[in-house]
């Protein structure tokens, strides 16, 4: 009897723990315009055009104002229960992991298995990007600071909200003081928008993007126009999304026989068993349906974070 009660209590605790929505990770990065204006960029030739690419590492190592701004933002977000992911630390960890992976070998002398895609995926990642920029304007002896903080969903690229403004002109205060003032004064407005975004997510589901692709010359011999009864495979997927998204909310801006892109897909934050799900879990549910009769389509689900998933059909 005691064991039964204990197991029941454990199951209840597990259910409560799992009933929390997956918490997005937030990271502050300096905006492209700030990096370029302050000389923190590298020039890269891309198809004959010179492109300026922000050099975040250099900016974080050399600009004290940026470090101060990130520290202040982190302080204010931690106060609201949302500590930020540190970009500087993330870049250091990546280097460390890369170094460790390069030096890791088995006793037989084999290196770690890594596909080129794994290599590309090894970048600093987060779910919501907080893009920060500021500029100091001089008006005679006075100077004032213009400040922009914009939140963007890393998967859907949608703006979550922004806080911006120009502070009162000052004769004496230095840039760091003006920057700190601007951050403190604007943070509540930014957090209001962030909260509205989270509340919307909890009401009408998490917005994700889902890409369906097909392996060329796959063993299953299928593409998105393969027919199952009266429906093509793309219709089967559409019907499944219609039933499994919140209020049937999704759009398909592009589809061909090989690729279908679904955007603004509103997925429930919990599955039918009350467990928190993200884009990966949602994509796996679809892949499981396609794997069964009458479709029998093997697929590969690629994890891209909380808000983006890719299913490649035809093979594992």
């Amino acid at each position: 009897m005691k064991r039964c009660i204990f197991s029941l209590a454990l199951a209840l605790v597990a259910l409560v723990a799992s009933a929390q929505i997956k918490k997005p990770e937030l990271m502050v990065i300096p905006s492209d315009v700030w990096c370029i204006n302050n000389g923190y960029y590298t020039e890269v030739e891309n198809l004959g055009t010179i492109v300026k690419v922000p050099n975040y590492k250099q900016a974080l190592q050399e600009n004290m104002g940026l470090k101060l701004a990130i520290a202040k933002l982190n302080d204010l977000m931690a106060e609201r229960g949302f500590p930020l992911k540190s970009m500087e630390q993330e870049l250091k960890n990546l280097e460390q992991r890369r170094m460790e992976d390069n030096l890791t070998t088995s006793k037989a002398g084999n290196d770690l298995a890594e596909s080129p895609l794994d290599e590309v995926a090894r970048t600093a990642k987060c779910d919501i990007i907080l893009e920060l920029s500021w500029d100091v304007k001089d008006m005679g002896p006075k100077h004032s600071l213009s400040y922009i903080l914009e939140g963007r969903d890393a998967y859907t690229s949608k703006s979550i909200g922004a806080a911006s403004g120009t502070g009162a002109p000052s004769f004496t205060a230095d840039v760091d003081v003006l920057l700190e003032e601007a951050i403190v004064a604007n943070m509540d407005n930014f957090n209001n928008r962030l909260q509205a975004h989270f509340e919307e997510m909890q009401t009408i589901g998490r917005e994700i993007s889902l890409d369906i692709k097909v392996f060329a010359n796959n063993e299953a011999g299928i593409d998105l126009e393969t027919e199952f009864g009266d429906d093509e495979l793309i219709d089967v997927i559409n019907n499944w999304l219609q039933l499994n998204t919140v209020q049937g909310r999704f759009s398909m801006p592009y589809a061909s026989e090989n690729v279908a892109n679904f955007t603004q897909v509103r997925i429930p934050v919990y599955d039918e068993r009350g467990r928190a799900i993200d884009a990966n879990g949602f994509a796996k549910s679809l892949a499981k349906v396609l794997k069964k009769e009458p479709y029998n389509i093997p697929s590969k689900v690629m994890v891209k974070g909380l808000g983006r998933a890719v299913i490649i059909l035809g093979e594992k």
Partner: protein, 165 residues
């Protein structure tokens, strides 16, 4: 002599009653948003600096009411910006919060209520203007908004940024 004594006694008895009536009127004015709130400059972290204009037939009642109005304004009204000041939205994003949590706010804004913990008057900032038969009194008030938010979150009036996660 008796008549004089009686009049004096009646006058003394009426004094607190009339002060109480004025206070009640001032409270009703707050309920009806009869006050003005504006930004008074950049404040230190965790606080808002606001200037509140309150109305009463007695200047001292209006001045006292400013603290209550400042907290009320930060929760339900928000304020505009300009001249280097940043505008702020009301802390309670739900417009029906005051009615929904009527009992809570009744005791919160009662005379000597919890609101006092979150507002302090900046000394030497009082401005008094006579408008018709009453006074319009402006005072700069520092509102401890971070502590206020935490109290409202704990009471379930507003949701925390990380609630649900």
């Amino acid at each position: 002599m008796k008549k004089i004594l009686f009049s004096l006694l009646a006058f003394v008895l009426c004094l607190p009653a009339s002060a109480g009536l004025r206070q009640k009127q001032a409270n009703r004015d707050t309920d009806q948003f009869r006050y003005e709130i504006e930004c008074a400059g950049n404040a230190i972290q965790g606080t808002y600096l606001v200037k509140v204009w309150s109305y009463s037939k007695k200047a001292s009642v209006a001045e006292n009411q400013c603290r209550k109005n400042a907290v009320h304004g930060v929760i339900f009204k928000g304020y505009g910006g300009g001249q280097g000041c940043v505008s702020q939205r009301p802390m309670a994003s739900n417009p029906g919060a005051e009615t929904q949590f009527e009992e809570y706010f009744k005791s919160f804004f009662a005379d000597g209520g919890e609101f006092q913990k979150y507002a302090s008057i900046m000394s030497g900032t009082t401005e008094t203007v006579k408008v018709g038969k009453e006074y319009k009194v402006g005072v700069v008030v520092s509102v401890r908004k971070d502590d206020l938010r935490k109290a409202l979150e704990a009471a379930g009036v507003i949701r925390g940024l990380n609630s649900g996660f």
